[in-house]
């Protein structure tokens, strides 16, 4: 194993990884979906007859052919949706009479292989009469066209905090306002969505690249009308997820249903163009903010109003913008904070968690407003933040928006970021350039964030077990499901360390509902924090159980029996000693299973960016990016660093490159695929310095907070602030992400800030 840094590496580097598409099941059929070419319309007809005649096609169905096909489930988990939001709004797995987003599936074709299934799909004829497509909340919010007859397009409303008193706005020395668009993003794991459903006897085995196998089992069993034990969900290697692979999607419903109906294995391997059309999106908010401060720069009140585009059906993410509202306070002591949410149905694919999931939106709005405030008060932006940070001794800190922050040292993170960046040096360089007409303008942007990890109340626990075999191997099981985070390495090491045994002895089994009966999964940056704590807890209980057994064997009081490094021995005499594997042989199987609950944790950090802007070309060059993140106690620094770096690059993607655009029919303008939706490549990666501070979390035994989403949360606002700082335009709202050359070029021509009077 010494050749490989992670256990996963051996197979992934030698071509022996096993992703869903790699699993060969004899007789497996491939599913291909026929999709709507318009974003909104009335379905008149779907004719599958010609498709059925295509050689190699096993069947083709529209909703009309499959009366028993169940609808797509909704989730109440983490309040992502609510009963009220979905009432009267069915999400059919195949369109019944109304198309509500481009690419919505009209029919499914099963073929002996994908080529044949695609041949068949090409023969399906459909007629959809277009209706006006609304792809932005502003277009849908007035209900002039309704997605569901008789129901408002506003599917959910919520608030956090109390309205800011009018006197605050009236009496404040400075009030700034802003309007920010959080564009729709595509999570874009390199492996698209996958499902393989194999019926065996009266059971169904489902293979899927998924973050929550037990949820998928529960949802599939429910829609088949089966007991949960008849469904087994297995998650093999998964090619990234970033929050987007945790639901039961319409295609999953169809595949599971048809596999059972036909009694044959069926798979759906989503392709990229399909994914770009119909995989869930992230972000999608129109925000209005107001921020008030006194003359010394002390924040007095903050108001955030969100109109969120949650997509065509409220089932997956109508409540997701509440994540933004609950974190609206950010890292500051602002006494009055009020955030309101309207979740608006639009003719787009559903908005769902994508790395950051609500927290980038909160951070970007507040941190952009902070820079505007600093300019208004003629204060250094770092100084304004410093004056308002919640001080380290004030934790736990209850925010006006209903969160209780566990621990933090925000000023330490900012100081480290400024020092690493060389803040003063860059300010001097900026001043120099402002006097040099030949120099390109340069800006410095900061962004300080606080986020939430672990999950929401009711979802902060996890299940797992540790077992010792007669051969001495130790097997740990848990309900998590990795998609690149290195669980097999990190958690095996954690269990080995807790037991004091060699790492090689410990094996981790996860992502299989037959192996681990209950579980929640991997989401909300919870694995280290929640699953790590669980495994440590279970391993400790295993030690206690072994000691008790040995004590009984030797007829000693338990406290005279000790465990060290896998050996159980009498503490005093030293004469009685037994290796735990021997103990198993003598006393029978040794396995401890439990559930363990952690508290919510609030990671935080400060990011700083230096950007150079070319006003003639509209290009932005990032000269330096510094990220300082604090995720409490780190289990594996190398892996956490990798997460921080990778997420910073995704954050750069949001700030500068990525974003959905739609044509008049509500169809994403992505005809050239990944040439139209620009993911950062290596050419776009600037020098990034990743640093951390460590403020342990008191709410989990390991002191670990969630890691991995920091860059998506912290980096974008720092970039936009840097560009605004470089251009010094009077109306920074002109800078809406992504900051494409077009956006920047136009902004560069807008009126400048009035210079110091």
């Amino acid at each position: 194993m010494e050749q490989w840094t992670r256990r996963e590496d051996r197979r992934l580097l030698t071509g022996r990884g096993r992703f869903v598409a790699d699993i060969a099941v004899p007789g497996c059929l491939d599913a291909v979906f026929v999709r709507s070419r318009v974003g909104h319309g009335t379905l008149r007809e779907v004719d599958c007859a010609a498709a059925r005649a295509v050689p190699g096609v096993v069947g083709a169905w529209s909703a009309a052919d499959l009366a028993e096909l169940p609808a797509v489930p909704y989730t109440l988990l983490a309040r992502l949706s609510t009963e009220e939001a979905v009432a009267g709004r069915e999400w059919p797995a195949l369109v019944k009479d109304r198309v509500r987003y481009a690419g919505e599936a009209l029919a499914v074709v099963l073929g002996e292989d994908r080529y044949r299934a695609e041949d068949g799909a090409a023969e399906v004829s459909c007629q959809v009469d277009p209706l006006p497509a609304m792809v932005k909340p502003s277009a849908a919010v007035d209900d002039s066209v309704r997605l569901f007859d008789g129901l408002s397009n506003i599917a959910f409303q919520g608030e956090a905090g109390k309205p800011v008193e009018e006197s605050v706005w009236r009496e404040a020395a400075a009030v700034v306002e802003g309007r920010y668009r959080q564009q729709l993003l595509m999570p874009t794991p390199m492996e698209c969505r996958t499902i393989l459903a194999v019926p065996e006897g009266d059971r169904l085995t489902v293979w899927s690249g998924h973050q929550m196998p037990h949820r998928l089992r529960r949802e599939l069993a429910a829609l088949l009308g089966w007991s949960e034990d008849r469904v087994r969900v297995v998650v093999p290697d998964t090619g990234g997820a970033f929050g987007s692979k945790s639901a039961a999607f319409p295609e999953f419903v169809v595949v599971a249903f048809l596999a059972v109906k036909l009694g044959r294995p069926v798979r759906w391997i989503e392709d990229r163009l399909e994914s770009m059309l119909v995989a869930t999106r992230g972000r999608g908010q129109d925000q209005r903010v107001r921020l008030a401060a006194d003359a010394e720069g002390r924040l007095l009140g903050y108001e955030l109003k969100i109109d969120a585009d949650v997509g065509a059906y409220p089932h997956l993410g109508a409540g997701l913008p509440m994540q933004t509202a609950w974190l609206a306070t950010g890292p500051y002591t602002t006494p009055q904070v009020h955030a309101t949410v309207r979740s608006v149905l639009t003719n787009t694919m559903m908005t769902y968690p994508y790395r950051g999931a609500g927290r980038p939106e909160a951070t970007i709005a507040l941190e952009r407003a902070m820079d505007v405030m600093a300019r208004q008060l003629r204060l250094d932006p770092a100084e304004l933040r410093r004056r308002n940070f919640i001080p380290p001794e004030s934790f736990p800190y209850r925010t006006p928006t209903g969160r209780c922050y566990d621990s933090g040292n925000y000023v330490a993170a900012l100081d480290l970021a400024l020092e690493t960046l060389g803040y003063d040096k860059w300010r001097a360089e900026q001043a120099r350039r402002r006097t040099d007409p030949a120099a390109l303008p340069l800006g410095i942007g900061l962004s300080c964030y606080v986020e939430r990890s672990g999950g929401e109340a009711g979802g902060l626990h996890e299940f797992g077990s540790v077992e010792v075999g007669e051969d001495g191997t130790i097997t740990a099981r848990c309900g998590a499901a990795p998609s690149g985070q290195g669980h097999e390495t990190v958690f095996a090491a954690l269990v080995a360390r807790t037991l004091g045994v060699a790492e090689e002895r410990v094996r981790l089994v996860e992502g299989d509902t037959d192996e681990q009966p209950e579980g929640l999964g991997s989401f909300a940056s919870r694995s280290a924090q929640v699953v790590g704590a669980l495994l440590q807890h279970v391993a400790r209980r295993l030690v206690d159980e072994a000691r008790e057994r040995a004590a009984r064997l030797w007829e000693l009081p338990v406290d005279e029996v000790a465990w060290s490094n896998g050996l159980v021995h009498a503490a005093e005499s030293g004469s009685a000693a037994i290796e735990v594997a021997e103990l198993v042989k003598v006393t029978g199987p040794l396995r401890v299973a439990d559930r363990f609950e952690s508290g919510m944790a609030f990671p935080f950090g400060s990011h700083a960016v230096v950007a150079e802007v070319d006003p003639e070309l509209g290009t932005v060059r990032l000269l330096r990016v510094v990220t300082v993140d604090d995720c409490g106690v780190v289990l594996n620094p190398v892996l956490v660093r990798g997460q921080a770096f990778g997420s910073a690059v995704q954050g750069i993607g949001q700030a500068l490159y990525e974003g959905m655009t739609y044509d008049e029919d509500g169809v994403p303008m992505l005809a050239s695929g990944l040439l139209d939706y620009l993911l950062p490549t290596f050419t776009e990666v600037p020098p990034i310095e990743v640093k951390d501070t460590c403020t342990p979390s008191p709410s989990t035994p390991l002191g670990a907070k969630g890691a991995g989403e920091s860059g998506c949360i912290g980096t974008p606002a720092a970039i936009v602030n840097a560009v605004a700082d470089a251009l010094r335009i009077a109306d920074p709202d002109l800078l809406q992400m992504p900051l494409t050359p077009d956006v920047v070029w136009r902004a560069a021509r807008a009126p400048k800030l009035q210079e110091v009077r």
């Binding site: 580097l13 998964t238 990234g240 990229r272 690149g484």
Partner: protein, 164 residues
């Protein structure tokens, strides 16, 4: 259509439809699933394999175009005795993979370049170009760049008899 592909040194006599892309034939007809499909339109590079030593996007090539050619995939990267390729070791050492889905493509791009020009380690800009040719959504690329440089320099060191 009857063709013969030589993949990682082994001959595969196949009967394939002309429209089948090389990646599908490698994955399904030859059972070599290490080659991944990330976009199927030539952008991401996850499907990269070597055809007669040249890196190609296996999603943009028909298998029949490779009749009689020699194809090398990630499964053929390690030595016959199983000893990992320097790139494989370097990727692990530099943490140049997280989910590993893009990894075979980056490995093959780098392997092709390294074989064509063993001195690539002296030319960081060329290495940058290699890294820039594929997409990875997890790592942020920097570790991949370091891994390729590390492997290249290690090979150079071995060749020059330098103990590193």
């Amino acid at each position: 259509m009857k063709i013969t592909l030589t993949v990682n040194g082994a001959a595969y006599p196949l009967d394939v439809e002309p429209r089948r892309i090389l990646a599908d034939v490698l994955r399904e007809d030859c059972g070599l699933t290490g080659t991944h499909l990330g976009c199927e339109h030539g952008i991401c590079g996850a499907c990269t394999v070597l055809v007669d030593g040249e890196a190609v996007r296996a999603c943009l090539m028909f298998a029949v175009q490779c009749d009689g050619s020699s194809v090398r995939t990630v499964e053929g990267l390690a030595a016959p005795d199983g000893e990992p390729h320097p790139l494989q070791r370097a990727f692990s050492a530099e943490h140049a993979l997280q989910c590993g889905f893009c990894t075979p493509g980056f490995l093959m791009v780098a392997a092709g370049a390294l074989e064509a020009d063993p001195n690539i380690g002296d030319d960081p800009e060329r290495v940058d170009g290699l890294v820039g040719s594929n997409i990875c959504r997890c790592t942020g690329y920097e570790p991949i760049r370091r891994a390729i440089l590390r492997a290249a320099r290690e090979q150079q060191g071995d060749r020059d008899g330098v103990n590193r």
